[in-house]
């Protein structure tokens, strides 16, 4: 009991809780059944029995649900009470248990996806209780994600907190089975780690394209690693990831390993989802512009990368534009502008002229919206470069 309460405190204590009485969609709706909670509280002298919870299976609108119901008398001396509930996956034993996460937003902890619900029971006076089972909340198994795939044993951890945020009652004896065929969140994050390690290798490969790794380039990659790690708040994970990413970086810069772009992209296609791929490409752009210059070879690499990673060209273009206004365009030469705009050498002159004209229109349109400052100057510089470049095709 002691340890459970401690556990509950770690998860519940101090967090800013949201109220869940208002439902979200059919599946997530709470508090129905025979009358509302307040109608069922009784002061009657009758014998309520001890306070208990139970899980009941129910199907609502074709969705399988687990209802949490409560009954009995609460051991309180009076005051406002909260019922707090979370789920643990204990398939691998209590000591190896992990939280279960949910896709339903209002059933999550405020700052991560862990299943957690807080239901305010109202002000309960001493001696009050509930005669019959009253539904308190609904768990939607199809939206739950355990750490691993397969048949999982889930423990329901519930507790009642008083207005001093102290646990006055707890229960850990309620379980259910969850048959989960998807990828568990721990498995997924293994994939994620792999994908991010590959991202680092990719960026190093891009940085090395001109034959050497500049400090400015190393800087950008380091900053990215730090940013990626810092989204986690426990030191252990940070340290673990730090080590992993450092290793991946060391591997990449070691010429003996001869890490090729084609190898990295192939791996990425296996492990990374599209979102991570775009993030990787974005990092490559940053690395590319880190030294204040854009080399044609670098641009070709980006182009090939987006092809190799099966990324949507329009999306890549949007990303490029965003980078362009931040980049000091005065460094771009008249000769390289067509490369930067991704205009292929082999395109016909008419086509080139048309593409340049479209780019001109785009940047000219944007100029109207940009405020005074470097971004605006960069857009103006793009316009001038494009109008110089188009002279050739008149």
């Amino acid at each position: 009991m002691e340890t459970i309460l401690l556990l509950l405190f770690i998860f519940f204590g101090g967090a800013i809780f949201r109220m869940f009485f208002a439902g979200l969609g059919a599946a997530g709706r709470t508090i129905v059944g025979d009358g509302s909670l307040s109608e069922n509280w009784n002061r009657s002298m009758g014998n309520f029995g001890p306070f208990t919870v139970r899980l009941i299976d129910k199907t609502v609108e074709n969705i399988d649900l687990k209802m949490l119901e409560i009954k009995g008398m609460i051991p309180t001396s009076g005051g406002s009470l909260d019922l707090r509930v979370m789920l643990r996956d204990i398939t691998d034993g209590q000591e190896n248990s992990s939280p279960v996460i949910t896709l339903i937003e209002h059933q999550q902890l405020p700052d991560n996806k862990t299943f957690f619900m807080n239901v305010n029971l109202g002000v309960i006076e001493h001696g009050m209780g509930i005669h019959k089972w009253v539904e308190m909340l609904r768990i939607v198994p199809m939206f739950l994600i355990p750490p691993h795939t397969g048949k999982r044993r889930i423990q329901l951890v519930s507790a009642i907190y008083d207005h001093n945020n102290e646990a006055i009652w707890g229960n850990t004896d309620t379980y259910f089975e969850l048959d989960f065929s998807g990828t568990g969140y721990l498995e997924q994050s293994e994939n994620d780690k792999k994908a991010r390690s590959l991202t680092i290798q990719l960026s190093v490969a891009v940085a090395l394209a001109d034959g050497q790794l500049d400090t400015s380039e190393i800087d950008i990659i380091n900053k990215w690693i730090l940013k990626t790690i810092n989204v986690f708040d426990d030191e252990e994970t940070k340290a673990e990831l730090g080590e992993l990413y450092q290793k991946s970086y060391d591997n990449a810069v070691n010429p003996d390993n001869n890490i090729t772009l084609s190898f990295v992209t192939k791996e990425m296609n296996e492990y990374a989802d599209d979102n991570i791929k775009y993030q990787a490409l974005s990092l490559c752009y940053d690395v590319m512009t880190a030294d204040g210059e854009i080399a044609t070879e670098e641009l070709n690499i980006i182009k090939n990368l987006s092809k190799a990673l099966n990324l949507d060209y329009l999306e890549v273009e949007r990303m490029r534009d965003k980078k362009m206004v931040d980049f000091d365009t005065s460094q771009i030469s008249k000769e390289s502008i067509e490369d930067i705009l991704g205009i292929d050498e082999n395109t016909s002159e008419d086509q080139k002229r048309k593409l340049l004209r479209e780019e001109f229109k785009k940047w000219n349109d944007r100029l109207t919206s940009l405020d005074e400052g470097p971004e605006r100057d960069n857009a103006q510089e793009m316009i001038n470069l494009i109008s110089e470049a188009i002279q050739k095709y008149k």
Binding site: G23, H106, D273, D274, R366, T368, S369
Partner: protein
């Protein structure tokens, strides 16, 4: 019964017109007897003087100021002597001078219309309205420069015009291109685009650059800017419109500027105008052969290379008049009579303008920030979404639905955005208003919100944000915010009577 005037508040030169007894537009000369007035200000012994003297002194010392139209709507101050003025204040000084001169020559002014480049953003529009107010003008309407010019050409053409026309306006500061459907005196703007920084002023800068290079070649010394000013450059530029080369005397040195070199140097600027014209044909869904005529507007269309470019781009001889720098104000006077209080007009005037009809279209997209699913990235993203598209006939009103993103959401943040193209990226739009709407508590996600944008005849936008279920709403009117201008009296005090 007062007079109506139309004012072309230009980057380099301004002009004003009214309509005569018979309802025809005519130029109103300034107190120096000139058709156009340099938009330049000179500070002399605590007086602000507008005109030729100021133009000649431009760049010579801190007591002169010009080209502030390019800064309209920006939150900056420009120095004049030891005082600072907003661009709207300085424009007000020019407008005030024009108003005073007009009153001397034609009497009391009851209503005025001021013109603006079609691609002025919302802030610049507001700043222009501000300036007019500070100058003591009764301005109910502003009109886009190309629209005013088209109206003038249509009016002068009697009832003979019919079909699609283009207005090509290259002035001192900006370039505007509009595609217009004209039917007699019915003027309907189909598409319009502009380059903010492209005009005679940029040509002047190139002349200065050339002079500096030549001077260095000849003397080995750097040419000081006071030895060859902007107005010197402008004179030489105008000469090059007629001659193959000009010889310039600077500090007893003779340098030579050739038309050929000038044309090479301005080629990339002229190309910008060409590209924009072609893009505008696409936008208007027409091809060059559909265009029945090209109206020339703006002093810089007198540059032979510009004229040639127009011929090449439109594949025809453009239609021009001697007074390309006056047509905008002439059209504005017509517009003032057409839009304004008819009680100010006599019977003949009323008759003359009764055929006029002008329909403008929006020159910007207006939208709002929202979370949208990005299928390509498989993620939800903050994006700009469009409510009023560019090219909608004015006035117009559009409503779009949005939904709350999460349960128990008690507030939405609202941003009104403006952009030329239908941008999705918030980096490339202008946020012209920001605010919040409080919502009732305890509701599930997905509550419908109705955003209504209404774009008025006088180019002012009214927005309404309504929570459908509760009827809670917020209304915003984007207009004439009196931003950072000095008060009218402060300007008054400096003005030459």
């Amino acid at each position: 019964m007062g007079n109506v005037i139309g004012i072309d508040l230009g980057t380099t030169y301004s002009a004003m017109s009214t309509i005569d007894e018979t309802g025809r537009p005519k130029i109103v000369t300034n107190s120096e007897g000139k058709n156009i007035t340099p938009s330049c200000i000179l500070l002399t012994e605590n007086k602000l003087e507008v005109g030729e003297e100021a133009r000649r002194m431009l760049g010579l010392d801190d007591n002169t100021c010009g080209r502030f139209k390019r800064e309209m709507g920006k939150n900056i101050k420009l120095k004049l002597g030891n005082k600072e003025y907003s661009p709207a204040d300085l424009s007000a000084v020019v407008l005030k001078k024009l108003k005073q001169d007009a009153e001397k020559s034609i009497g009391e002014i009851s209503e005025a219309v001021v013109t603006i480049p079609a691609n002025f953003n919302n802030e610049a529009r507001e700043a222009t309205m501000d300036a007019a107010k500070i100058a003591g003008l009764n301005v109910q309407y502003i009109v886009n420069e190309p629209t005013a010019a088209a109206l003038y050409y249509a009016f002068e053409g009697g009832h003979e015009l019919g079909g699609i026309y283009a207005v090509y306006d290259l002035g001192g500061g900006t370039f505007d291109i509009s595609i217009i459907q004209v039917n007699g005196q019915d003027v309907d703007v189909i598409a319009t685009n502009g380059v903010q920084v492209l005009g005679g002023d940029d040509f002047d800068n190139i002349i200065i650059e050339m002079a500096k290079e030549k001077y260095k070649e000849v003397t080995g010394e750097t040419l000081a800017s006071e030895d060859f000013t902007k107005s010197n450059a402008e004179e030489e530029k105008k000469s090059l419109s007629k001659r193959e080369k000009v010889t310039v005397r600077i500090n007893r040195q003779i340098i030579e500027l050739t038309k050929k070199e000038f044309e090479e140097k301005i080629a990339y600027l002229i190309t910008q105008a060409e590209m924009l014209c072609e893009s505008t044909f696409d936008e208007a869904k027409i091809s060059v052969s559909d265009i029945k005529g090209v109206f020339l507007v703006g002093g810089s269309t007198r540059v032979p290379a510009v004229l040639q470019s127009v011929k090449d781009t439109f594949k025809q001889e453009p239609i021009s008049t001697v007074n390309v720098d006056e047509v905008v104000s002439l059209g504005a006077a017509l517009y003032a009579a057409y839009k304004g209080d008819k009680a100010n007009l006599n019977t003949v005037q009323k008759k003359a303008i009764e055929q006029i009809s002008v329909t403008e279209s929006t020159s910007k997209c207006f939208g709002t920030e929202a979370i949208v699913r990005n299928e390509a990235r498989n993620s939800d993203e903050v994006m700009n979404t469009i409510i009023i598209r560019k090219g909608e006939k004015i006035p117009c009103e559009k409503t779009s639905s949005y939904f709350t993103s999460h349960e128990g959401q008690t507030r939405i943040k609202i941003k009104i955005t403006e952009s030329v193209a239908p941008e999705e990226d918030m980096n490339f739009v202008k946020i012209i208003w920001e605010g919040e709407l409080d919502l009732p508590p305890d509701r599930p996600a997905g509550q419908e919100l109705l955003f209504t944008y209404k774009y008025d005849d006088n180019q002012i936008m009214k927005c309404k944000f309504v929570d459908k279920e509760s009827g809670k709403e917020k209304k915003v009117e984007l207009s004439m915010a009196n931003n950072n201008s000095n008060t009218a009296s402060e300007i008054e005090e400096f003005l030459v009577e």
